[in-house]
């Protein structure tokens, strides 16, 4: 026998199930009057610094059917590449930008949409800059443990080419699964980011 380590085990994950909206976005499923506003719906105010963008897309299963019961959370840096978090030691982030958002996929179409700003670049652990990116976390019925991925920007080709994280992807054609295509709608930059849980276009998911 040896001495016992004093660490604990992380609580095992369990699926969010089909009714995560009751807890995460109750007003969206007509449970009203408990709290006024669901958390994470609004990221940007009039004072927020940075380029306004829209991110939209769907989450597809292995039969290419969009999930109509998923919940997506995003986490991103501000326009200068700083996170609004006490764990951020490099400086003070834009006080008018929380950087966290939460949206359900539509119950009929499976569409999701975030209105946010384009983040600045953030350094990798060795000091090299990563390309601008937004962290995504996807949960749903049938997903046993939340899936982490990242969205990158199609108009950041040079930065993407130097990003140490994208550089770690062995199968180069899979890099494309993380790059959202820039378009324009009503004068606003719009990025389409579809997530494929499985199949030919399976998104790169991270064990972070």
């Amino acid at each position: 026998m040896v001495q016992k380590l004093t660490t604990l085990k992380e609580s095992p994950s369990q699926t969010a199930g089909p009714y995560i909206h009751i807890g995460a976005t109750p007003n969206w499923v007509e449970i009203t009057g408990v709290w006024e506003e669901d958390l994470g719906l609004v990221l940007v105010g009039s004072e927020t610094k940075g380029e306004r963008i829209i991110i939209k897309g769907r989450v597809f299963d292995g039969s290419r059917t969009p999930l109509k019961d998923a919940l997506i959370e995003i986490w991103q840096a501000d326009a200068d590449g700083l996170y609004n978090s006490p764990e951020e030691k490099r400086g003070k982030a834009d006080p008018n930008f929380v950087g966290w958002g939460r949206q359900p996929t539509d119950g009929v179409t499976g569409d999701y949409k975030f209105e946010t700003i384009k983040p600045g670049r953030v350094p990798y652990k060795d000091g090299r800059l990563m390309a601008p990116h937004i962290t995504f976390w996807i949960v749903a019925r049938g997903i046993n443990i939340g899936l982490h991925t990242r969205m990158y920007f199609s108009d950041e080709e040079a930065a993407n080419g130097q990003c140490p994280v994208l550089g770690r992807i062995e199968h180069k054609h899979r890099v494309q699964t993380l790059i959202a295509a820039r378009g324009e709608e009503n004068g606003l930059a719009t990025y389409t980011f579809d997530i494929h849980l499985q199949g030919e276009k399976e998104t790169v998911f991270f064990d972070i």
Binding site: L8, I22, W35, V165
Partner: protein
Amino acid sequence: MSDQGPFYQRDRSWHPAAFTPQYKTSVLRSPQYPLLSLDNTISEMTGPRFGHNKIGPLDNDLIRNFAKAGDPIGQRIIVYGRVLDENARPVPGALVEFWQANAGGRYRHKKETYLAAIDPNFGGCGRTITDEEGRYWFRTIKPGAYPWPNGVNDWRPAHIHFSIFGHAFAQRLITQMYFEGDPMIWQCPIVSTIPDKAGIEQLVAALDRNATLPMDAMAYKFDIVLRGRRSTMFENRMEGN
């Protein structure tokens, strides 16, 4: 020495695998490529923090926070516990959200079709923030078991869903709490996605007679463990060293 390093690698053998055919919905929703391992960057070691000002006084009282005309039907219970990290340190300021079916096993959701009655006085959602010692508590009614379309006769054990935000996005976790002594736990295809019996037992809340309010509410203790961070004792190497 402080816990400022990256988070310990997640023990994937302790969590459910993505592909668990006994839980049929996982079959088409499970990635097939291996996950790309990424030692944490700032993007994962930071996370949103939620202030106490976001939380209303009834947010942790599911008996009262939706009731229109009287209390919900069901056994009154208190659920309490601590949010800790793998280093057994409390996680203060963690947002804990919970949702559940009513006493009959029926969720208040437009897509729910189970024939058990909706309770007009029960919404089924709540939230709270842990205090300086990582403690949280809420009051609710004990949820009922319910059938679900998987096998033709599969039932979920009574459970409460939990969503927890620690201090970093890498700690983000959703799980479920079960109740001590429930035989349905050991017959559930979703519970059985957890490979280790000890892992399942970690999600079973203990009946705590000492915390029970006499003539009012039974109490269950449910501690939650989030990922812990490495200490930085020998990690101050500069680039190139």
